[in-house]
Amino acid sequence: MNGLGFRQANSWLHTWSGLLLGWLLYAVFVTGALSFFRDEISFWMQPAQHASVAHAEAPQRAVDTMQAMAPDASLWSITLPGPRNPTTQVRWFEQGERRSKFGGQSAVLDGTTAQPLQERASRGGDFLYRFHFELYGMPRILARWIVGIATMMMLVAIISGVITHKKIFVDFFTFRPRKGQRSWMDVHNALAVLALPFHFMITYSGLLLLMFMLMPWGVDSAYGGDRQAFFSERGNRTAASAPAPAADKTPAALTAIGPLVRQAQAKWPNGVEQITVTDPGTNLATVELRERGAGSLLDRGRSGRMLFDGASGALLESPEQARPDAFSAIYNVFSSLHLLRFADTWLRWLFFIGGVLGSAMVASGMVLWVVKRLPQRRKQGSHLGHRLVESLNVASIAGLPIAIAAYFWANRLLPVPMQARADWEINAFFIAWLACLAHACFRPHRKAWKEQLGALALLLALLPLHDLLRGGGSLLAAVSHGSWVAAGMDFALLAFAALSAAGVYFLRPAQAKAGKRAPAPAEGIEGVSP
């Protein structure tokens, strides 16, 4: 590296750190952007539930259903219909059963009738969410280290990129289409700089989130190895409450839930998210209501709670929320910004667009690597390394979305009673991805792009159509009962199908292009520019 100036050194660093980790970062960005809509994707992957509509009487009806379904349970947890999922989700624990987040038994109820709805075995949006930071099929800790190192390199790439392309601040809004390598450069710069606050924030906060797992030594020494104590102090989590002694329990009717919910709704603008009933049907019953979403990033997860006596319906206590200290506040702001648990639909869409721009930025950087070396390859003949990068570019940039589309298709096509159904949805994802890799290796570069983008457009566009033909479909549900959660997903699928189709259009042969526009010496994905 001797003899290189500061900017050349940064350029070298940016090129090679970007190339080596680009494919992984692209996958992390794509699955991360989709994870902002994790709940919506999970709901979309349960088509039997699409007709559910939230109803004002949902809390009382859900409690009635629970009384019929699990009268002897030690605890009911009822998550009410909300803007991201119009069904009621219930979970209950038998007497003496350990209460954990995913334990006990669960069911999904219709938001209006509170009757149980059919569920198909599917990991839903959770698979994409886990893939975002734990990949798949490897030890969790190892995968998090890999993603953490990639995140670190992303931060390096952002900073070295700003130094390398320092002209981005002079030609801020510049995009020169149909100019080959220059156009790709402009796309890469524009995508980077337009969403720079987002890129920096999401990378930095992602690193911060992984930091506690990757480098726990500071926390371990301060808390004497009791990491749980650290997290409960940060998150103000209460340990799972121990079941009350069974001594003086006598049967008693549960108070009506409706008035309690209305009382809470008067206080909380976002309404009630969750109802937890302990010892239902006894004189010791309590009803805890939890507020939906919190109003500030500073107090992540510290949404309001109200506790009522289950028999009399009297308000027991509403503990005042303590202000978080400065360190917690900073940690909370960054982790909530990354996880977006609090956000309304508009912010969720803004962040999703930011994630898509980030994916496109990484992708354009990798295409740029190929395009830049194209004249040299033309002169010197093909080169195994160059060909490898070309193939991997197609297989990741177009192949990963195809794999995700295959995952969605498997969700619709696999029979509901099938054994290991959820696993086969994931297998479909990886089989499709491998097929894309093989296809990209054996087809000429330009044809591979065209065919994969065309396949992607078809796969995405046909999904809503398939639902429509199979009866109902979310679009119909949206029009007839105003339930837009699943329909939003269908519109997004159609939008991305249109984007891929546009990609195919830009890849058409140069002659066809010359007929429509002034001929341009295009040099993009081997002769094409955006």
Partner: protein, 112 residues
Amino acid sequence: MNWTSLALAFCGLTLLALGMARHHEQVFGDRPALVRPAVLAVFGWLLLIVSTLPPIARHGTSIGLAVWAGELTLAALAVLLLHTYAPRFVPPLLAAAALSVPAWLLIAGWSR
């Protein structure tokens, strides 16, 4: 959705762009600038700062700033695409966006 903040960010970024020689030429060709670039830049930055206020008023400082950063990105995308593909429409859309802010405030009210 904060229309006022989006429109203000769009106006601010457009003024900033018009203060740059390359983008001024895209829109106005070789006609001389009516306003000095430095003045455009000052007003552009001022509008960007003002555009943070509606989301902060609506969502609080922490979430508001996150919303604002996202809206800034959207506005910047619009400015870029306009300058590339339809530079003729920059002045009329700038005027329309600027006028839409008081109109929106009158209709929706500042109350929320």
